[in-house]
Amino acid sequence: MSTMDQNELYDLTLEHMMHPRNYGKLEEADATGIGKNPENGEMVIVYLKVDGDKIVDIAFQAKACMTTIVAGSIFTDTVKGAQMEEAKELTRIMLSKLDNVPPEEAACTELVAEAFYAALEHLTAKADDPDAVVPTRMITQRCDPEAMGKQIFDNTREG
């Protein structure tokens, strides 16, 4: 990764820590999904509002660490306004890259992705049953909070 890229990543991370995007709830969401870490109880809830195949709005809330907040903020910022298939593809790519990142960081990203997948499941289920229960999906990556702190700013700004 070039120096420029590293600095941009650092600035991006800091910006999302200072001002998380789309944090909160969506009134009258079309679908809701929960991602949960069975090891420590951390969880993410994703709310979706769709128009046909387009994600017109998305929000998330989390009982989780700052790494998860940054992941949720960047993810929701990216898929907001996207077509459903684009968002699914992005999530698939994101998950496929988790093998290359430290497990602590991977767990936080997976938490957000699983919550999004759960929201998609809810959307499908609601087409048949408007009262369908909000699904919960568990993550598979392990999260070590002590190591995590060291990872989030590994891409420290270069001068």
Partner: protein, 273 residues
């Protein structure tokens, strides 16, 4: 209407509070802090009244982005929020509404006197230094993460303890929650001042109802004790990671305060068991 009023006062409190942390002129910053405390009391007076009357309200609120470059702009930023509260109240003889309106009138007048302050705010410049002290990359990473995590955590605790305090009848429990609220306010102020000096000051994200509403006070306290132990450990680790001696002393000072929080919460747990 009630829900909107509560959110507006909450926002007014946070705007004043974070403007106070950001002020370069510390005497003015402390004045703003006192005004923020008055807004917090309004919030609690209103909460108490809503609970007694069975009126629905929420500690949830929209995100707040601090948008000002000078102390004058910060004063206007606060005034906007206070004007919104004022617009929702009328002096119809209700003692609480009357009290709040009088307070707002005074504070808004003081803020108007500060509109022309041109002192630049450095709280968002990302200087990453504190009083001339800079950090190794590793220490900086640990410090930043700690500050973002813990400033949210302290704000979260203020919300949770406030919500809980309004609902407990036991006098000692009430006292314990008040001590913990005061302690969290001090911690939030301490961490936010460091963030302002580093140029990374921001208002924590909102605390959702799923977090601040508890079904069981016992479970809430048990989890709270574990969280305090976690915070204590984080403080200890940070004191080790940050090379500067003054910082180490400060984080050890906070760390020992967490010890007493655990004692208080254990006492609270015993009282309800």
């Amino acid at each position: 209407m009630a829900k909107r009023l509560f959110v507006s006062i909450h926002e007014g409190w946070l705007r004043l509070l974070f403007a106070s942390f950001s002020a370069q002129d510390r005497a003015w910053g402390e004045t703003l802090y006192d005004y923020a405390e008055i807004l917090y009391r309004h919030l609690r007076f209103v909460e108490d009244m809503f609970v007694k009357r069975g009126i629905e309200y929420s500690w949830e609120r929209p995100g707040i982005r601090l948008r000002f470059a000078t102390e004058g702009e910060a004063a206007r930023f606060c005034d906007e929020a206070l004007a919104r509260i004022e617009a929702q109240l009328s002096d119809d003889g209700d003692p609480l509404a009357k009290r709040i309106l009088h307070d707002l009138g005074f504070i808004r007048n003081e803020l108007a006197g500060a509109f022309e302050r041109e002192t630049k705010i450095g709280a968002f410049d990302r200087s990453m230094t504190v009083d001339g002290v800079s950090f190794s990359q590793e220490a900086l990473a640990a410090l930043m993460l700690f500050l973002f995590e813990e400033s949210y955590k302290e704000y979260e605790l203020i919300v949770i303890y406030s919500y809980a305090q309004t609902r407990v009848e036991d006098k000692r429990l009430h006292e314990i929650f008040q001590i913990l609220i005061d302690e969290s306010k001090f911690h939030l102020k301490s961490f936010a001042r460091i963030m302002a000096k580093m140029g990374i000051l921001s208002v924590p994200r909102m605390v959702t109802s799923e977090i601040y509403r508890f079904d069981s006070l016992k479970k809430f306290l048990e989890e709270g004790i574990e969280e305090e132990k976690g915070a204590k450990e984080q403080c200890r680790a940070l004191a080790e990671a940050v090379g500067d001696e003054n910082f180490q002393r400060f984080f050890n000072f906070i760390n020992y305060q967490e010890d007493y929080h655990i004692t208080l919460m254990e006492e609270a747990l015993e009282r309800i068991q």
